[in-house]
Every structure is written in C-alpha cells, then in structure tokens.
C-alpha cells in the first residue's frame, strides 16, 4: 500500500540529514534503498535519482526523455508514491524505499499490470513503457477498481509519442479485473 505519511517523513529525514554537515560539490557517499536492497553510490550531490539509478546502479529501465518532469518516463516509487526520478536529487531520497521497474515483478512473476500490458499491446517502441507501468501499477495499489477516467488521470503526465494510450487504459482495467479474480 502507498504510505503517503512515510513519503513526507522521508523528506524531513533527508533535510535533517543534510543539515548536519555541508556536503559536495565533490562526490559523496549516498545510501539508497532500491528494490529492497541497500545500495551505496558515490555521486556529486547534484546527481538526480534518475542518474544514480541509470549510472552506478545500472538500473537503466528508468528512462530519461525530457529531464525536467514533463514526460514522466522516469517514474519510480518512493515508499509507493510515484515521482519523477529526474526531478529529485539522489541525496534527497533518504530512508525512503525506491521501487523501479526492475523491482516490480516478484521473481519471474510479473506484476498484473505488466502481464496486461503485454497481452493488450500497451506499448510500441517501449521507451516510455516502464514509466507508464509504474504509474498504472501505483494506481491499482490505492484504487483497486479504477475507471477509465482514473487511468487517464494517473497517466495524464506521461507522454507516449507512439500513441499507446488507448491500449494502456484497456490493459490497466484488465489488470484490475485480473487481480480481483
């Protein structure tokens, strides 16, 4: 389940941690909890979460397409809340759990949204797809029985130039139905 309170506390923790000492501009050790595993990266404080994930952590499923929060291709979860990883510094994350597209499946078992995306062809080139999957999966976490309008609202900040929106909506509604079954 989404824990909004935890997400807000995470900001507070990060601020507290940052206020203790001056860090940067050189690379510094940043601890991140990603897909359930504690990781340590050495990055300049200006590095975004997206850069940390894609670079030293090698989690390239998180995509950068606009790098300014306009397209949502870089969507990940912080304690279950969707954020644009390009709009957040890695050092801001603090104790919050980061979930990326690589962490959504349980072992070989895909998340129902992933399965439905494949079945309903909710993608074309696939570059924006991880971001869409993360937002649609988050939607089902806090609204297990969404309407098409709910899905459109959840993906309202995402761009797909191939135009997969209709199939994304179909797939997400199908995933919701599959979870209930």
């Amino acid at each position: 389940m989404i824990n909004t309170a935890s997400a807000i506390m995470g900001v507070a923790q990060a601020k507290e941690a940052a206020s203790e000492r001056v860090i940067g501009p050189d690379a510094t050790a940043i601890g991140l909890r990603v897909n359930g595993v504690a990781r340590l990266v050495h990055l300049e404080p200006r590095a975004t979460l997206a850069e940390a994930l894609r670079g030293p952590l090698g989690l390239t499923g998180t995509k950068i397409a606009c790098n300014r929060g306009a397209c949502s291709a870089c969507t990940v979860w912080l304690d279950g809340v969707t954020v644009c990883a390009c709009m957040m510094l890695a050092i801001e994350v603090g104790a919050r759990n980061v979930t990326t597209i690589e962490g959504l499946a349980t072992g070989d078992k895909l998340h129902p949204v992933q399965t439905a995306f494949i079945e309903h062809d909710a993608m074309q080139c696939g570059f924006c797809t991880p971001g869409f999957v993360m937002s649609c999966a988050a939607l089902l976490e806090h609204k297990p029985d969404p309407t098409a309008d709910d899905v459109n609202a959840a993906i309202g900040g995402h761009f797909c130039r191939c135009g997969a929106y209709p199939h994304v909506v179909t797939a997400t509604l199908a995933a919701a139905a599959a979870r209930k079954a």
Binding site: E44, R54, L59, T60, G61, T62, K63, I64, A65, C66, N67, R68, A70, C71, A73, T100, I101, E102, L104, A105, L110, Q114, F117, I118, E119, D121, M123, Q124, C125, G126, F127, C128, T129, P130, V133, V151, N152, A153, I155, G156, G157, H158, F159, C160, R161, C162, G163, A164, Y165, P166, H167, V168, V169
Partner: protein, 781 residues
C-alpha cells in the same frame, strides 16, 4: 507461349475479403512457395499475437541505445550556435582542452573556410567534445569561446519569400539535392530564399477551369511539427583498429552502415551497426545525421568509445521536423461533382533544408484530367526539416480533403457520395462504406445545427500513400539440430513489432508456434534488412522471411523423408510435426527431424523478389508497388464555442495494408497514427521568436502534445485486401494511418460550427478567431 523455366504459374486469392474474394493468376519465381491462403485459413499469420519483446519492454530489460555502456566509454557533447545566422571568425578551445577529463575536441565549423564558417540556425553544431563524464563535457563546452560576426536572418516563411529578405544562402552555398534524407529535385533555380518551383502539368488546366460550373479556391497553412521521439537521438561509436562498431537508435541499420563506410572511407566489412530497443523515429532517425558523424569522429580522435545523446532542447532544434507549408488550391467541377481542373501552388519551408513539398494527394487521389502544380522550397534560418510520418501527403491532404468537403457542400452532395463519384479506388470505396456505418454517418446534421454553446460535428477525409518496397532486403532462417529456429536480419524493430510478425511468418511455414522462434534482428552482421521508413518494412521483409523459411524447411523435409520412408513432396510441416499429407498418422516431431541433421544447423537466406505483377517504378534499392495504400478516417468532434476548445470524441480509421499480418499490432500502430494526427491538428507547433530566431518552446511542456486526456475513442478497421503480389501479400500501415486525421477533424469542426479553419493547429484562439470572437493572429512561422 514459350514458358519461362525460372517461373511458374500460380492462382492467388485476390480482392477485398469483406466484398468477396476472387482469384488472380501470377507468374512467380520457380523457387518461391505456393500462394498463401487468406488469413481465415491460416494458423498464426493474421492472428493478434502479442509482441515477442513485450516482456523485456515492461520489465525495463530492453537495451536502448541510451542504455549502452562500454568500458572506457566517453561522453560527447556538442557546442551549438547561439545566433541564427553568423560567420564564425574564431574558436578558442584551449581552456576546454586543458579541462580535467576532456579526451578529444573536434571542430565542426572551420573559421576562415567559406564553405564551413557560416552557421545558419540556432543549434547548428560548432565544436564537439568528448570527456570522461557528461558533467566534464558540459563544463568544457562552457570554456569554449566563439567569435561570431552576426549576419541578418529571417525565420518567418512569408518574410523570407520577399525579395528584400536576408538571404539564407547564396547561389554557391545553397543545397542542391536532399541533405536530410528527404527527396528533393536537383537543379532548380534559386531566387532569394525561394527555390523552385518543381512543376507538373497534366491535360489543359486553363480549359478545365473554363469548362467548370464552379470553382472552389482556398489558402491553407500547416505548421512546423517536431518528431518528439521519447528516446532522444543517440549513438555509441566504438572506433577500433580492426573496425568500427556503432550502436545507434536508427530506423535503418544497413543504411547507416553504408553512410559510415562512405564518410570514414572504411570497407563495409569493417563497419557494424547495432540497435536493440529503438525508442521512436517517425522519420527523424533514418540517416546517420550530423551527431552520428560527430560521435564517430570523436571516438576515432579519442581512441575510445563515445556516447552522444541529444538533450530535449537539441532534439527540438536540430533533429529534424515536418516542414511548414502555405498552399493555394483551386478545384473546378461540374454540377455533378466531376472534377474538371485542379491547380495547386505551394511554398514550404524545411528551414535550411529542402523537401517542403506537399506530396501527391492533389495529383492522384481523384480522377481529374487537367492538373497543374508548382511547389517551392523557402529557406529560413531554422533547423533542417526531414521526413516525418507521411511527409508531404500529410500537408497536402490538409488542403485537398477540406476543399473536396467544401465542394460537396456547395454542390449539396454528401461528401461520401461525391467521393464515390470522383474517387476511382475500389479500396477506398469499401473503406468509406465500412467507416460510415461505424461512425453513424447517417446521424450527421447540417453545419452548425446544434443550438447550445457546445456544437458537435462529423467529418471525413482520405489518405493516399505509395506502397513502398525495399528490394535490397534479405532474411536468413536457421534450423538448429535441437529443433530450435532463428531468424536473422539487420531489420530493426522501431516499435512496430516487426520481429514478432517475422516469427509469425516463419512459424506458419514450419508448423511451429511463434514463440518457438528466436528473432535476432537490428545488427548489420546479419543479412541486410530494409529501412523502417516509408511504411515499407513489413512489405519488404515478410516475403523474404517466408521464402527463406520454405527453403530451409525443404532441407529438413529431405531428412525427414528418409526416416518416414516417404517422398519429400508428400511431406508437410504442421503442429510441431513433419507429416505425410495424405497419411497424417505417419509423422515425426519437428525436433526429431532436426536431430537427424548432418550438421549443427542448416540455413537459408532469401531476398525480396519483385512484386509478381511488377512494380510501378523502381528507385535504386527501392520500388513502389502498383497499388496505393489508402485509408479513410471519420472524426466526431465537440467544439466549445465559448472557449474555442475542440475535443475529438471519436475517430473511426479504416485502413488498407494488403494482408493484415497481426491485427493487434496494426491496431496499436493505427491508433498511434490517429493520435499523432490529432496532436498535429490541435496542439503542436514549433514557435520561433522573430527577433532572435530562437525556438521558444524547445521542450515537451510548451511544445504541446496530445496526451491520454486528449485521446479520442479510436476504432480501427484493417481491410483484408489481397493482390497476389508477393509471398505474403503484406504492405505497410504506419503513414497512411496519420495522413487523413487532421483534415477529417477540420471537416468535423466545420460541420460543428459552420466555419472552416484552414490553418494548423486548430487552437482555441484560432477557433475563437474563426468565430469572430477574438482578432486573428497576424504573423506565423
């Protein structure tokens, strides 16, 4: 009649399935397989098979070019012109060269060299740097000092046409042919910034207009649209002593290999181009490009792999665009709707490039004996245009399909009935019939008939696109001793799912399931595949895949024949087995037959043969089929006459792609085409500041794109249209799916409010201006 020993006669299914199938006799190459049955009789082809690489895409595992990292890889960045027109007098890179982490600096502009020292648009490359990190490369760029001598510039096409406007080029420097991959006639006159015209005349237009009962005339404008691929243009170049390997987000691996070999004087066997995930191209990633050349040059200079990824601003300024146009179209017609003359004049701008024409919609969509066209390119100080989904015809259809709509109204003939009279294509006739039922055309009311502030309307428009085929196109199919199967080709999957379609074809031949076939594509080490532009990939590669699979199956059957004690001609492959046709109980597993192979694998390579009835025309490695690809789209809109907001509520798209290979993938692609057309119709526009030449919306939030909330309900119908022209009889879908959308919406807007919008995009301001509620915009780019 003497028989040609290299061919044989076969009877193919022909016609549109929903109308009724007939037959056509063809001479086909002796070594090509028998005609493929209509989809209803097939096991895998024509079925909605999910894409094979879907799992990789939804788990983030797909490796796109931006994800490629090679040990020791450097990061390249490009310093770009900050003025729209200037002579570069000097470049000082000394401080950048000393900056920590910088490994190579190469000049693109050479001060003092008249052929190289002029920059003509903001964003033109000047110097490139490779460094150990992106940050170091960025810092180095900021240390480079460029001495500009500003020159007068023009970024507005109307101003650029004026003889007193600053000249973008002089006669010596102007491009003569195509510089951006889009064909442009060579050897045309240049007057100021206006190049051309290319002209075409048929019959006697003067006489045709004199004989007309009425003449409809209109001026139309289309804006500049940018491609906005989600994956930026990206390349990783790895120059080594023994050869060059390039990972590139490209629509044409084999073409880029040729360009690289030529640009860097390398033999083809020393150049390899690879793409796995490819994050959208839409025409803008068909060629090597300046950034590609730069990356390779940096890698050669630094002796290390170099990655160049454009940022979003670079994407918007220097990665191509759909040229803007102004068109004046006149149509003369008789009272019965018969067209007696068509005349079109166009001026278009592809910035500093060529290729801003309006295609062949006016020429070829409708029967008309008398026709004239003159098309001009206008240079302005802006980034070069290039092909973009349905280039030319998308702009041309905007004018033509609205004018036909206007003609129908003036003649008091239903727009569909008028088209039934003047459009000779049986394909589009059937598409109109199907679409009219789906959209509920009989509910359409008179223009502006709704009484409230929100007015609804319905419109229709048609598309025309050539059925392109790449003849330099091959595919290899291998059967391995354990019964596994591989398909190999350099063809790339740009999001259409072509690999899945190839697997369907091969599985159908071998009697296997699609998921039993491994598809290895996007690598020039494999047989050369077609480009993925011009809607030609499926038409080109699927026949080659079927022929290769048939040949390799023959080798396997020869082995099985010994084991089953049957003649090879009696054996067929079905349901994972090789069996005797007339005695299916005598059979063996496919894998058991493969286990008998003498060697670890057998293989066949086949290339795309000519269409069985020949091509309409050939162009080097490419050709155009005899038939066109058509589509008819219907739009239903709601226009808020108080806010000017147009909502597209429904679109019905009825499209022709020959034999539909995979309805699920086709639906995706057509929905995407309709959405791109909707976005073009209502939102998108590159805006250049007249005073600085700068693009003011070089991003993805002020450059407006349709998103989920703007997406209409899109219904897709793919005709089953057999011609008996190749081993699969499949043709393309991507571009025809986008061409008709904007004029269909415009015709629906007219039907809603009774006022015609002739300029794109149809923004709320434009709608309110058309309704006389606000003043209209005066100046456009």
């Amino acid at each position: 009649m003497a028989s040609d020993p290299t061919t044989r006669t076969e009877i193919f299914p022909a016609g549109i399935a929903s109308v009724g199938l007939g037959e056509v006799k063809r001479q086909i190459p002796i070594d090509e397989p028998s005609p493929l049955a209509p989809n209803a009789h097939l096991a895998i082809i024509g079925k909605p098979v999910p894409r094979q690489n879907g799992r990789a895409k939804v788990t983030g595992a797909t490796r796109f070019t931006v994800d490629v990292a090679i040990p020791g890889m450097l990061h390249g960045r490009i310093l770009r012109a900050s003025l729209p027109h200037a002579e570069i007098r000097a470049i000082d890179s000394a401080a950048a060269a000393r900056h920590p982490g910088v490994r190579a600096i190469i000049p693109i502009v050479i001060p003092g060299d008249p052929s190289s020292s002029i920059v003509r648009y903001i964003g033109a490359p000047i110097v490139a740097v490779a460094a150990v990190s992106m940050a170091a490369a960025e810092e180095a760029l900021r240390l480079i000092r460029v001495d500009y001598k500003p020159l007068p510039f023009v970024v507005d096409m109307d101003r650029a046409r004026d003889s007193t406007a600053p000249a973008v080029y002089d006669g010596a420097s102007a491009p003569r042919g195509h510089i951006s991959g889009y064909p442009a006639a060579a050897g045309l006159p240049l007057n100021g910034n206006v190049r051309g015209p290319t002209t075409e005349v048929r019959g006697d237009p003067v006489k045709g207009f004199a004989e007309a009962d009425l003449v409809i005339e209109g001026e139309f404008r289309t804006q500049v649209q940018t491609h906005c691929c989600l994956e930026p243009h990206a390349i990783v170049a790895d120059w080594r002593a023994d050869g060059l390997t390039v990972y590139m987000s490209t629509q044409f691996t084999a073409g880029v290999r040729h360009e690289l070999a030529e640009a860097f004087a390398l033999p083809l066997n020393r150049v390899r181009v690879i793409v796995d995930g490819m994050g959208g191209g839409f025409g803008s990633k068909s060629m090597l490009g300046n950034y590609g050349r730069i990356a390779v040059a940096l890698s050669r200079e630094a002796q290390a792999p170099v990655r160049v990824v454009l940022d979003r601003k670079e994407e918007q300024m220097d990665a191509g665009n759909r040229p803007g146009t102004w068109q004046r179209l006149r149509i003369g017609a008789g009272r019965d709707g018969t067209l007696s003359a068509i005349s079109v004049a166009s001026y278009g701008t592809a910035g500093i490039g060529l290729g801003a024409g309006i295609g062949n919609v006016a020429q070829a969509m409708y029967a008309c004996a008398n026709f004239e066209a003159s098309q001009h390119d206008v240079f302005i100080n802006a980034g070069p245009g290039c092909a973009m989904r349905g280039p030319g015809n998308t702009q041309g259809a905007w004018a033509m399909e609205q004018t036909i709509d206007e003609l129908a109204e003036r003649l008091s003939i239903d727009p569909l009935a008028l088209r039934d009279r003047i459009d000779l294509s049986p394909t589009r006739r059937e598409e109109r019939r199907i679409g009219a039922v789906r959209i509920g055309w009989n509910q359409r009311h008179a223009p502006g008939a709704d009484s409230g502030p929100i007015k609804r309307g319905m419109g229709v428009a048609q598309s025309l696109w050539g059925a392109n085929v790449q003849t330099n196109c091959a595919c290899e199919v291998r059967i391995l001793r354990d019964g596994s199967v591989e398909i190999l080709s350099s063809v790339q999957d740009i999001g259409t799912g072509i690999g899945t379609v190839m697997a369907q074809v091969v599985a159908e031949v071998l009697g296997l399931r699609g998921d039993q076939i491994t598809v290895r594509i996007g690598d020039t080490d494999f047989p050369a595949g077609p480009p993925s532009h011009g809607s030609r990939t499926t038409a080109s590669i699927t026949p080659a895949a079927r022929v290769a699979a048939s040949r390799v199956l023959q080798s396997l059957i020869n082995e099985a024949a010994l084991a089953l004690n049957a003649a090879p001609a009696q054996l067929i492959a079905r349901d994972g087995r090789i069996l005797v046709r007339d005695d299916p109980g005598r059979n063996m597993k496919f894998a058991a037959a493969a286990a008998r192979l003498r060697t670890d694998r057998i293989s066949a390579v086949a290339s795309r043969s000519d269409d069985y009835a020949g091509f309409r025309r050939r162009m080097e490695d490419a050709a155009m089929a005899q038939q066109d690809l058509g589509g008819v789209q219907f739009a239903a809109v709601a226009v808020d006459t108080e806010t000017g907001i147009v909502r597209v509520e429904r679109v019905v798209a009825v499209q022709d792609c020959g034999r539909p290979m995979n309805p699920l993938l086709i639906e995706s692609q057509v929905q995407g085409g309709v959405l791109m057309g909707t976005s073009y119709a209502l939102f998108e526009e590159r805006i250049l500041d007249q005073h600085t030449g700068r693009m003011v919306n070089p991003n993805l939030e002020q450059y407006k794109l349709a998103g989920a909330r703007e997406t209409p309900a899109i219904e897709v119908v793919a005709l089953e249209n057999y011609q008996g022209q190749s081993a699969t009889d499949a043709y393309g879908i991507a571009e025809p799916a986008s061409i008709a959308t904007a004029p269909a919406i415009a015709n629906a807007v007219y039907n809603a409010i009774g006022v015609r919008l002739r300029s794109l995009p149809m923004t709320p301001a434009a709608v309110l201006a058309a309704l006389g509620k606000v003043p209209s915009r005066s100046s456009r780019t």
